[in-house]
Assembly symmetry: C2
Homo-oligomer: 685 residues x 2
């Protein structure tokens, strides 16, 4: 499921503070007493610390956990898919065929993979807010970036430490998160894509579901399997209907505390523009993969992710156009505004909502250029060129004055990316650039000065062709030399892609800064005041919007009524997987499963639905019981979860996991991964 | 340009009845007195009759006019593009290279082309309404279809007569339109696509514009050029800024009189679903045309139209999500409801708006299946199969009991289509079917019974491949035999596409009927009551929504303020065309224009903007002065015209035409079409 994503729902919400089992709670503010009162069990500090240190974030956009003391890590297949793709070649298609390391020596290093283990959280709200006090626009942004860089730097400077300043409650709280960072991560196991993503796009975000969406990697330190004293044990019996379960993971982002004017901007401007752009890109890729088996191999991963992202964006749009849903958001906002108005200390904050509404006007002018260039992220080559050009400039500045993506700490990851031996497919890159340049022209218009500068007298197709065929940025050595050579090397480069970025980057920087100063800064200032009002009225009994940082959610194993009003049971079975297989993609089982069928217990639970409040980024999160034992592996949400970006609906929103029993049955009887099964079993004792 | 289309705008409307120069007026209710009062000239009945009989409808979705007494017809290049495409082959790409018939003998018959000349309008409101009186649902639909078939039949039965019952004011008025029908239509002239559609998708619906979007055909009768005593003469001097001008043509459809609940359904359900589906199709085609020059030739026309349709749908969505725009629609509706409530005769009609709102609930359940199968229309082969299967069944019934598309009169066109030697590109068809089947599965879900029946155990790609590779419906003889053979031939056919349609057609018919009975019938009944209220309050001083029938609009040559607030002048020049040419598509001029440049008067007006209220379907309409002389050729609207589907904005909505002076300059000095220029000049005298 979604690694970027975000969600929605069809039904009206009960008021904010009454919602059951809602919340993506930070580990330093988990409502243990509330959970205890309802379920007879509340996590202790020891429990929380253990689960926190067993949990991992995959920096590229997923969640994971240690499942043995020897650095073995469980996550989803789709969370290791990029690694599997990068380790594949025209000769060896690991995406299609899967991968198992028979011995530790066979475990293969992922070119770019960062695991973050959250070790400490420190409140830095007053420091950050003081640094920005009295400042607006550009001055506020400069002060914020400098303070963040300073806090990061003071927190740890060796490559195995990562520190992030995390803004919670839209700037109401700032925390400094300190992570242990693993960058030597090796692939242990990935099943065939056809069973990992069984049902493909049609079944994505639907339930009943039958996916074996697991991937295993191992963290290494100094060339050896990392020691991971905190890890999650496997449950002996799995879960049962109604049981209390927790999800520990990193939800990517939610928008539940946005004002209605911000939501309207999403609904009327952002989503109607992004959704068809994704649909067009999907169409281009759908055709590309039919052109040859090799092109299918090159682009199947990209197609998989864009299908997912498209579904997420479409779902978000559907949530916001529902007048009943939007009506709830309006009522909630009015309620908070009225209550805040009664508090004499908050008088100055009454206009914060209007301030944000006012900013949406600015935003509508600046959005097209910002959005257009956001599409640039889809290209590997354009990414390299942008990184190299910007890194050269930024590294010549003091750490505190750089763009946040180029601080000393961030350079660790950048250097890993520059040096990673990732295959670049020039035919696919040309498709991407062609599409992106067309999107930019469409969004800004053929007569826009930036578009004229970007295209010159070429068509999008001609420009893409010239840049891609002429560049050598697909060569690691070329990239490394340009990185080492800094500004002089960039200025001397005759690479057309470097020259292209050198030419347009000043414009991109101006546009970015303008957006930061005229949209981000005033929004943050007003949001802080709303956060203050919210704290005054509701306290911190409300969880902050998700920020791709570690959160804990609680809930129960539970089915749900579907759109036709029928009740869907919470468990599917391995037998159901075989029943659903038609033999045609995406309902085609690999030979491994067909051969193993006689040996399998077909009544084993396959996938399971729970009420946990999760969102994109939670992919790969462990589903655990009150003993902190693994009972499943989160990989998806149902269709009603797609509104979760804006609000949680306890009646129908469900998280979807692979059942721990199916995982063991598959690893053992289909893949005969005895080494790994033994490691899991040994760790359980 | 749009041939399907419909539109939107960004600004608030003044109330309905105060709008200036708005209206797509029927020829039997043109507000001559109002025009006379404002401009000092009002069309007389003679003027109206002459213009009506000079005007033509292209049945496939465009407008045109006679411009000589010998059947010479002027329309847009994009209105003859399908014919040009059908006359092309891998050896001879007429779309790219253009076509000129040096002699009448060289004029080439378009495989399928129907021109309709409106000869008479008769009011049949009471007959139709009496037939349906007291009936609801299925009974009302049956009565309506039977009455329509009866009226058609009584009006004329020879193939050169076409009669349509036209529902105006959403069922408030029924008129019987009698046309003279020409089906032998031959291509005289088409320029190169690159200059006809100069600026391509980026410039489409934008102004300043520089297109030579003209196509010439000739109507034939009994193998000879048709005699056309009513035709439009060329103006000697062209138009000037501020001059009164008229557009006589066939606007395809508007939705200005829909209730706000219907508009909300468009905004929240229809458009967010159609727009990305079109975007995906566009992406597929964009890639397809890169695969080989021959594939580019096969699909460039299809890509051109889907780019246009996408832009129109996107524009409609943008109009409806604008809260200010939607607010005006709400206020207008409330005003009418309040005024109607004061009229004691209308008491029973007060609930009509609520009835329509109620129907939207039904509609939301039935819409997905209806929409899904609407995509089927994109495939030639699927069209043939559906027509053959249905025609076999329908022809066995009495005329009055058939589906309206299969009455005796409609069979004339069906037979022409079946027998037309149109090339079918199987690789393109496979792409289309694959996309359509995926759309259907996406809209209805993988577990929907219809989807399961449609796909069986195949994937959309597999099914498309099997049907397309196995069918022989690309062979005229096969189609003709199946048509002649009727039900027995269909039952005996082993053609996979025929068998496929035989299998799913019963389901499609049920879905269609359900939609007609549960959505169309109650909507029509309530709309009639609203129309009655509207007549009572406003009289017929309001024009009916467009229905792809002949309308006359009046306005003036006029520029407009663009989105940046700058005033755009109403004329561009031929010199501007050369200035805008970069040499890269879509800004690449053909050699004919580059060579002719020294001979051209570069100050000649190229394109012109006017305030005429038009919409998709008006493409190819003549722009005429008060002497009924041609001063331009409508081919597009500006970006603000894209909201015109829902309301007319006098401040910014503009129609765009090729200036008559540029037409003559180009025909003479670029294409040396002396034969035709002489015919035009002779006709002028």
């Amino acid at each position: 499921m979604s690694v970027l994503g975000a969600l929605f729902l069809m039904c009206a919400l009960s008021p904010l503070i009454l919602r059951a089992d809602e919340g993506m709670w930070t580990f330093n503010n988990f409502p243990s007493q509330k959970v205890e009162a309802k379920y007879g069990f509340g996590p202790s500090q020891t429990w929380l610390d253990h689960v926190r240190e067993s949990s991992l974030r995959i920096a590229a956009g997923c969640s994971a956990s240690f499942i043995s003391p020897h650095g073995l890590v469980m996550t989803n297949h789709h969370c290791v898919l990029e690694c599997v793709q990068e380790l594949s070649s025209a000769r060896e298609n690991l995406v299609e065929k899967g991968f198992s390391a028979e011995t530790e020596a066979e475990e293969r290093k992922c070119p770019v993979f960062e695991l973050d283990q959250l070790m400490q959280i420190r409140d830095v709200t007053s420091e950050v807010q003081q640094a920005m006090a009295g400042k607006t626009g550009n001055a506020a942004n400069t002060a914020l970036h400098a303070k963040e860089a300073e806090l990061q730097q003071s927190c740890g400077s060796d490559p195995s430490t990562r520190c992030d300043v995390v803004s919670l409650y839209e700037g109401g709280v700032y925390n400094l998160y300190q992570y242990k960072r693993y960058t030597d991560v090796r692939l242990v196991f990935a099943p065939e894509m056809s069973v990992a993503q069984f049902g493909g796009d049609p079944d994505n975000f639907n339930f009943p579901r039958f996916d074996f969406d697991i991937g295993l990697v191992r963290a290494y330190e100094n060339g050896h399997a990392a020691s991971s004293p905190d890890y999650l044990k496997w449950s002996a019996n799995g879960s049962k209907d109604g049981e209390l379960v927790f999800v520990s993971g990193n939800p990517g982002g939610t928008s539940r505390q946005l004002t209605t004017s911000q939501l309207a901007f999403e609904r009327d401007t952002v989503l109607p523009s992004v959704t068809p752009a994704f649909a067009e890109y999907r169409g281009l890729l759908e055709r590309f993969v039919t052109e040859s088996p090799e092109r299918a191999r090159e682009a199947d991963e990209e197609l998989f992710f864009i299908e997912n992202d498209y579904k997420v964006e479409f779902g978000r749009e559907q949530a916001l156009v529902d007048p009943e849903f939007f009506g709830v958001k309006i009522r909630e906002e009015n309620e908070l505004r009225q209550k805040a108005a009664l508090d004499s200390k908050l008088v100055a904050d009454k206009s914060a909502w209007d301030d944000i509404a006012h900013v949406q006007g600015e935003r509508s002018h600046l959005f097209p250029q910002r959005e257009a260039t956001l599409f640039f992220r889809f290209s590997e080559l354009l990414g390299y060129a942008t990184t190299l050009v910007r890194a050269a400039t930024e590294r010549s500045k003091p750490n505190s004055e750089r763009l946040p993506e180029y601080t000393d700490q961030a350079l660790v990851r950048i250097q890993q990316q520059i040096s990673a031996p990732i295959p670049v497919y020039k035919d696919l890159e040309e498709l991407k650039l062609s599409w992106m340049f067309s999107c930019v022209r469409r969004d800004l218009g053929a007569d826009d000065p930036f578009v004229r500068k970007m295209l010159g007298k070429e068509s999008p197709e001609q420009l893409a062709q010239r840049l891609v065929s002429g560049t050598h940025l697909d060569d690691v050595k070329v990239r490394e030399d340009l990185y080492k050579g800094g500004q002089a090397a960039i200025a001397a480069s005759s690479d057309p892609l470097i020259q292209f970025i050198v030419s347009i980057d000043p414009d991109l920087r101006v546009a970015h800064k303008e957006y930061e100063d005229r949209v981000d800064a005033p929004t943050r200032a007003a949001s802080e005041r709303i956060a203050k009002a919210r704290f005054a009225v509701y306290g911190t009994s409300v969880d902050p919007d998700a920020t791709f940082t570690l959160r804990l959610s609680y809930g129960t194993v539970k089915g749900f009524p579907n759109a036709q009003g029928q009740f869907v049971q919470p468990y599917t079975t391995i037998g159901g997987l075989f029943d659903r297989a038609t033999g045609a993609p995406p309902y085609e089982l690999p030979q491994s499963w067909l051969s193993a069928k006689p040996a399998l217990d077909l009544t084993t639970p396959m996938n399971v639905s729970t009420t946990n409040d999760i969102i994109g980024g939670n992919s790969g999160s462990p589903l655990i019981n009150k003993n902190a034992e693994i009972v499943g592996l989160i990989f998806d949400g149902n269709i009603f979860s797609l509104g979760g970006d804006y609000g949680y609906d306890a009646k129908q929103n469900r998280a979807i996991a692979v059942d721990s029993r199916a995982l063991l049955e598959g690893l053992g009887k289909v893949y005969h991964l005895n080494r790994i099964v033994d490691e899991i079993e040994a760790a359980r004792r």
